[in-house]
Symmetry: C2
Subunit: 129 residues, 2 copies
């Protein structure tokens, strides 16, 4: 069940990590969290051409990190929270799977330590008699 | 303040997204969340050479997603939660910054709608008189 969920999320989060592996694309996401921006504003922010910015935006849109709308000749971009949530969920699921395993391990080690501390019942009886 | 925090996290999460952009490296992380494994076990899992696996592990270790220990000739790998947490935090901070902005926008739009719905005070007085 967990294995199936992990597999599903692995595929779904695929493009998001690729998209965020690039510093310019992370800068676009950073900027848009504070409000929408046009393509030319983003190009100015990055100090790259509009064509290069459009390429980055395509990657971000493909992994649902950004969405955009054209009104007349101006394209305005804004955050699409789906991609952020999907990547967050991918990481959270793995971190909690790992933490639960560690908790179970801690419980087992705790039980063995208790067994070592308290002497077996028959030893106690021998001491008493 | 938020801008500074965003910048700090952008740099810190840098390598983690690059590391997770690769399907084989994500498969290693997936596998290790369920327990430690040796390098040869991971190589078998991926169906690649030990040398290629070692390369992937270097990238994962550099971004604190995996740690490893050598005992004799066997290197055992396990999850390092630091990298997972850092990437999760990077995403969460951006998502919540965006959500807070949306909430504030909703409040402002709600207020304007209220103003439109309730007629101005002097109009009410005129109706009464």
């Amino acid at each position: 069940m967990v294995k199936h969920m992990l597999k599903h999320h692995a595929e779904a989060a695929d493009g998001v990590f690729h998209a965020l592996a690039d510093a310019n694309r992370r800068a676009i996401v950073d900027h848009l969290t504070r409000g929408p921006a046009t393509v030319s504003e983003l190009a100015r922010l990055l100090g790259v051409t509009v064509a290069a910015t459009v390429q980055h935006l395509r990657v971000l849109q493909a992994s649902e990190l950004v969405r955009s709308e054209k009104a007349g000749r101006v394209r305005t971009c804004q955050i699409d929270p789906s991609g952020l949530r999907r990547a967050e969920e991918w990481l959270r699921l793995r971190r909690t799977t790992w933490e639960r395993r560690l908790d179970r391990l801690g419980d087992v080690l705790g039980e063995s330590a208790d067994e070592r501390r308290s002497p077996p019942t028959n030893t106690t009886e021998e001491t008493r008699s």
